[in-house]
Every structure is written in structure tokens, then in C-alpha cells.
């Protein structure tokens, strides 16, 4: 059995606010100089449909099953400042 150690840490939302506060105070120093756009791609990417064989398909014909592609637009990159606006901490 795995145990996740309990660590005393600030509440994530509280930390995010603190970090953002720091970002506001130091924004001119940390962001203005480093946020030059890298002009990353913004193209649409087509992903072929994957058939899933985890179940029988003896039900009625489903309109959405006809989907042949899923699109996922890519993110646009900038250089990251060292001070974060927010935190992706996982769920």
C-alpha cells in the first residue's frame, strides 16, 4: 500500500495569489523583457478516429459515431517568465 506523505504546504490557491502578487510587483522586470513571442504554430491538427473495442455495439445507430476526425488546436507559446500567474497542480 502506498502512502502519500503529508507535507505542510500553503493552500494552492493561496500560493497562486501570492505568486501572482509577486508577478504584479515585478512584472516590469520579469515579464516585459522576456515575453517576446516565439510565434509558435496555431494550426489545427486532425486526429483520426480510434475505434474502441471495449464493448459490444449492438445498440441503435448513433449520430455522433459518424465523427471521422477530432481537431485539437495547438497552444501558442511565449517565453515563460520565472514567476507564474497560476499553477497547474494536478487533479
Amino acid at each position: 500500500m502506498e502512502h502519500t506523505p503529508r507535507r505542510r504546504r500553503p493552500h494552492p490557491a493561496h500560493r497562486a495569489r501570492l505568486i501572482t502578487g509577486v508577478a504584479s510587483a515585478t512584472a516590469a522586470l520579469t515579464l516585459t523583457g522576456s515575453m517576446a513571442l516565439l510565434a509558435a504554430t496555431t494550426s489545427q491538427a486532425a486526429v483520426s478516429t480510434t475505434q474502441v473495442d471495449t464493448e459490444s455495439d449492438d445498440g441503435p445507430v448513433v449520430a455522433t459515431r459518424a465523427t471521422t476526425a477530432v481537431t485539437a488546436s495547438t497552444a501558442t507559446a511565449t517565453r515563460a517568465a520565472t514567476v507564474a500567474h497560476t499553477i497547474s497542480h494536478g487533479s
Binding site: 506523505p5 494552492p12 490557491a13 522576456s34 471495449t54 448513433v62 507559446a77 497560476t86 499553477i87 487533479s91
Partner: protein, 318 residues
């Protein structure tokens, strides 16, 4: 000028920053989050998702938001090759996740060995026409794994449409950013691992999404066994993946959230094989703390960094 709020919603820590635009946009965002939670939470008996789950097999009229949730969930099922399945609810319940996460542990959950929920997988047979949804009989819909990411997309879209210059919507670590950040540049998102107070990576983007999935949060004890919320639809059991965390960067929040879970389930041997052609970038952390990234993630790092390893906490069994 930026306005921001940190708050609890959707069983998670949330954080929204709005840059520019007319007064009141932050309130617009907060109300939108609440509205979507009221429609989508399976823990709110009056929600549209609860109504769908009460009436499997029956066509049910839902709001446009909920119809979009179901459509995106079906897209995500295809996109992930089944690693995400919106009808995994039965397995989630059998694992003991039968109430909001805050309430798990207040009283014993059901014995997973008894299989108290008879619900089965059935994404292929979900029917949706306009704003009418019919779940197959014997199935249930779980918005977990996509709801927060899609909600972040919808909230960000509304706030920008109302005149904001930029917005960051973070719902439980599923982050969607658009437009300019508070300092006229882009947005910077730190990625954290439960083992460390220091970020694994610091990512910069102007329009896109970052989502992180981990097996180290949302754990609970059910019948003496440590459980986590990440159910593998292929087995119907909490995943035994050898990764502890996956983060995905892509254009939309719902895609990022779905792919983060899918990458995590893939395991350390082939974590990124699902991402080809999606344009998504990712990083993963294995049980030993080693960090691996896709080559394209560097584009988002700029002069910031990502760590190559994380020290495992003392006494942690892998």
C-alpha cells in the same frame, strides 16, 4: 488592470484572472463557473447530469452547455482511444468515489469487491441530437476527466466575448488562458508535483491550455485500501500506471484534460504515443521522480526551466 479571485468550486481550488475590459467581468466568470457546476455536477441531485443518470435509456432535453459536454466527451473518447470514457461511472462508484471528494472518508464507502454499482461502459451507444441526450440503459455519465477543462474553455470564451483583453481560468489545475497577461505579455503557468514545493516546469503561452493529472491527489481509503480517482476504463479499476503525473499543453482545456489522463494511463514505456498529430506537448513524472518531456515542450519553456527529476519523499514506497 487585472482582477482576480481564488475560490473553491467543482470540488477543487480555482483561480481566475481577468485583464482589461469593462467592470464586472470577474463576476461574470465566477457566475459562469457556478452555473456550469450546477448543471454538470453528479453530486448535485438537481443537475442535468444527475437527471441524465437517473433516466438512462430515456431521451432527455438538456441545455446547450450540457449537450456540448456530452458531444465533447464522445470526441474525447475517440481522441483518447478509449483511455477516457464518459461512461466509466460504474467503475468510479465501485472504487468508492460515490460522493464529492471532500466527503470521502467521512463514512465508509461501498465495498469495491461487491461491485455495488451495476453500471457498465457504453459510450458508443450514447445518442445526442440537438440538445436531446439519451444515455444507454445500464450506463451512467461521469463528467470527471473533462468537465473542468471544458468549463475553463467556456468561461474564458465568455469573458473574452464580453470585452476582456485577457483571461486565465484555472479550475482544479486545468488551466485555459487567452489574450494578454497582466503585464501585456502572455501567461505563465507553473506545473507542480505533489512531492515538491518547487515547480517541475514553468510554461509560457498566450492562447491555450495546460492540464495536469496525477495519481497522488484525490486518494482515499476504502475498506482499508488506498484508492485514487484515476480509473482505467480498460480494467474498470484504479490505474496501476507507473507514472505519477502527466501534464499536457494544447489549444483547448478539455483536450488538455483528457490527454493528460490518457498519457498518465499509457505508462512510462510509451507515454506520448497518443499525442502524434494532435499538436499537444507533454511532460510526465515516473515513480522514481524522473521527468520526461516531448521535444516540442521546449517551445513553451523559453528562458524558464523544467526539472529533470524530483526527489522522492523519504519513506515513500514505489
Amino acid at each position: 488592470m487585472a482582477a482576480e479571485s481564488s475560490f473553491r468550486a467543482m470540488g477543487s481550488d480555482c483561480h481566475i484572472i481577468v485583464v482589461g475590459g469593462p467592470p464586472g467581468l470577474l463576476d461574470v466568470a465566477l457566475h459562469r463557473v457556478d452555473d456550469l457546476e450546477q448543471r454538470w455536477s453528479r453530486f448535485i441531485p438537481t443537475s442535468e447530469v444527475s437527471r441524465l443518470n437517473e433516466h438512462p435509456g430515456v431521451p432527455m432535453r438538456v441545455s446547450a452547455d450540457t449537450a456540448e459536454l456530452v458531444r465533447r466527451a464522445l470526441e474525447a473518447w475517440h481522441l483518447s482511444g478509449g483511455s477516457y470514457d464518459p461512461t466509466v461511472l460504474g467503475a468510479v462508484l465501485r472504487a468508492g468515489y460515490d460522493r464529492s471528494f471532500e466527503k470521502l472518508g467521512e463514512e465508509p464507502g461501498p465495498d469495491p469487491a461487491l461491485g455495488t454499482s451495476p453500471l457498465q461502459l457504453g459510450a458508443a451507444r450514447i445518442e445526442i441530437t440537438g440538445e436531446t441526450v439519451r444515455l444507454p440503459a445500464g450506463t451512467g455519465f461521469d463528467p470527471g476527466g473533462i468537465g473542468k477543462g471544458l468549463a475553463a474553455d467556456l468561461v474564458a470564451e465568455d469573458v473574452m466575448a464580453a470585452g476582456a483583453e485577457g483571461v486565465c481560468v484555472n479550475l482544479g489545475g486545468d488551466v485555459r488562458v487567452r489574450g494578454v497577461g497582466p503585464a501585456d505579455g502572455g501567461w505563465t503557468v507553473a506545473v507542480e508535483h505533489p512531492w515538491s514545493d518547487e515547480p517541475i516546469a514553468v510554461l509560457g503561452l498566450t492562447d491555450g491550455a495546460v492540464a495536469t493529472s496525477t495519481t497522488l491527489r484525490r486518494q482515499w481509503v476504502s475498506n482499508g485500501e488506498q484508492r485514487h480517482h484515476l480509473i482505467d476504463p480498460a480494467t474498470g479499476l484504479p490505474s496501476d500506471t507507473d507514472l505519477t503525473l502527466a501534464t499536457v499543453v494544447t489549444g483547448q482545456g478539455w483536450v488538455a484534460e483528457v490527454l493528460a489522463k490518457a498519457v498518465l494511463l499509457r505508462g512510462a514505456a510509451h507515454p506520448f504515443d497518443l499525442l502524434g498529430g494532435t499538436g499537444a506537448q507533454a511532460l510526465v513524472v515516473d515513480r522514481a521522480g524522473a521527468v520526461t518531456t516531448t521535444p516540442g515542450l521546449n517551445e513553451f519553456l523559453g528562458e524558464a526551466y523544467h526539472r529533470t527529476s524530483i526527489e522522492q519523499p523519504r519513506g515513500h514506497a514505489t
